[in-house]
């Protein structure tokens, strides 16, 4: 009796829920089949390496995924164009600021290419540092070592800094470590001297300030003659950096004379410090200036004024 009952119940159950049961079984079978297929699909195994070209060496942050292919293909195209001596097209890949500040003419760029790409070159890349929307890559340019096997050569490479700036969703390329041009329009002046700092070119490891000096007096003014090594310095908050080149040329302004200079200071663009002020540490307003070492001391003794001038940079 109970067996018949159970049978009837089962029968009724299947009759009643036939559609649902079929649906569940079908759904389950489909899920199982898809899962099985995905599990057994041949996977492309990629060898693991420690090479992470788009993770910065300095702060281990990653270049955004969407920019990586563009950066890699841009570097590749640029190198291939240089290898093929396709000067104009390679030159046109550079940002306008890089062109105007580092390679103002096609022939100056051509010299760069001829110097670094004497034969076909291979390269490797490594993201070095990321600063805001700028991505600084080390591009190591070397002989085509696979093609030569380093036959008769030692292993070596030239390290170049390529800088990518992500502006308005377009990537701009700069080479030679050039990071950006930054307008300053800072003026410092007193009754003797006017200092116009128009702009600076920021490179990865140095800053170059474009400065115009104007002598407002009727006397010669010596700004720098190599007497000390810190005649012009840059304060970056944590330390002072001396100008790199003035020792080689010196700065003397004749009465009412204006001259323009590029003052270069060592500073890494990713050090987190902002320049605070520029110091002229040894301005000498003289009665007369001969440039002769033998009369230098007497000219200094008769100086009208010897002083320092500090020019502050606006803080953001």
């Amino acid at each position: 009796m109970s067996f018949v009952n159970t049978r009837l119940k089962i029968r009724r159950f299947f009759k009643k829920y036939k559609k649902i049961i079929i649906f569940i079984v079908l759904l389950w079978a489909i899920l199982f089949a898809v899962n099985y297929i995905l599990k057994h699909m041949p996977k492309e195994e990629i060898p693991k390496t420690t090479y992470e070209p788009n993770v910065s060496v300095m702060n281990e942050d990653k270049v955004p995924d969407k920019l990586q292919p563009t950066i890699e293909s841009t570097i590749d195209t640029f190198i291939q164009r240089c290898n093929n001596k396709d000067y104009e097209n390679a030159y046109n890949m550079l940002s306008d600021d890089c062109k105007s500040e580092v390679y103002p003419t096609l022939s100056s760029f051509q010299k760069y290419v001829d110097g670094k790409f004497q034969s076909k070159r291979a390269y490797s890349i490594q993201d070095f540092s990321n600063v805001g929307n700028q991505y600084i890559y080390n591009v190591n340019i070397m002989d085509d070592i696979m093609a030569t096997g380093l036959t008769g050569k030692d292993y070596g490479y030239i390290e170049e800094k390529f800088v990518f700036t992500n502006d308005d969703d377009s990537l701009k390329l700069a080479i030679g470590g050039f990071v950006r041009k930054q307008n300053l329009n800072v003026v410092g002046e007193d009754e003797n001297l006017k200092v116009d700092i128009d702009y600076k070119d920021v490179f990865y490891d140095q800053e170059s300030y474009k400065v115009t000096l104007t002598n407002r007096t009727e006397h010669p003014i010596v700004i720098a003659d190599g007497s000390t090594n810190n005649e012009i310095s840059l304060n970056i908050g944590t330390s002072d950096r001396n100008e790199q080149n003035i020792e080689t040329y010196g700065i003397v302004l004749q009465p009412n004379e204006s001259k323009s200079y590029s003052f270069v200071f060592n500073k890494y663009c990713d050090d987190g410090n902002a320049p605070q002020y520029m110091m002229f540490n040894n301005i000498r307003v003289l009665q007369s200036y001969s440039g002769d070492e033998s009369t230098k001391q007497s000219e200094l003794d008769n100086a009208i004024r010897i002083y320092t001038l500090r020019i502050n940079f606006p803080t953001k």
Partner: protein, 192 residues
């Protein structure tokens, strides 16, 4: 009234139990089907393995390509859990093994195309060079240093042979790895 409700509740429990039973039963059956399929595949591959060992009786069932493919697969599996230094050393070792076994065509096939064009336009050129510069048998390679430059690996080695203690050759190998057991090699050609 109460008995009607109880019957309804019993029915629901019954329906639930039956549904679960049906689903479990279906799962077990489908899993079994896949197991049978897998076993069939295994038996199939076992057959070909057997034919390798019994190739005297059943010839031409496994071709040289099949053996090579199997070897390649085994090498890939072996390489999969190795670090990059070990992989590079194994690749270099493979190249040297081909030279040692006088399989110059296989060693030649591993060379980077531009390198071939520059130094060994023909396989014969390469075979001649290998015979001249490398020991004829029992070649050992000491790995002194490895450097990586992007996708390139530079191995600084010393090639020796226990059969001749006076023989020693510093040899640089450059490698690119495209995938597991998929690489290209070049080396510094001794000009003298």
């Amino acid at each position: 009234m109460k008995s009607k409700q109880r019957r309804k509740a019993n029915n629901t429990i019954f329906v639930a139990i039956l549904t679960i039973a049906v689903v479990v039963w279906t799962i077990i059956n489908i899993v079994n089907v896949f197991k049978v399929m897998k076993n069939a595949e295994r038996l199939e591959s076992g057959k070909s393995t057997n034919t390798v060992s019994n190739n005297i009786t059943i010839q031409n069932v496994v071709t040289a390509e099949d053996i090579e493919e199997n070897t390649n697969q085994l090498e890939i599996e072996d390489l999969q859990d190795k670090d990059e230094r070990t992989r590079m050393q194994q690749y270099c070792g493979k190249f040297i093994r081909y030279i040692e076994e006088k399989d110059y065509d296989k060693a030649y096939a591993l060379l980077y195309p531009d390198f071939k064009n520059n130094y060994f336009p023909t396989e014969e050129d390469f075979a001649k060079y290998a015979q001249e510069k490398f020991p004829s048998s029992l070649i050992t390679v000491e790995y002194n240093n490895i450097e990586r430059q992007g996708q390139y690996y530079i191995l600084f080695t010393t090639v020796k042979t226990p059969l001749d203690s006076s023989y020693s050759m510093d040899q640089k190998f450059i490698l690119i790895e495209n995938g597991f057991n998929d690489f290209q090699i070049s080396f510094d050609v001794k000009q003298d």
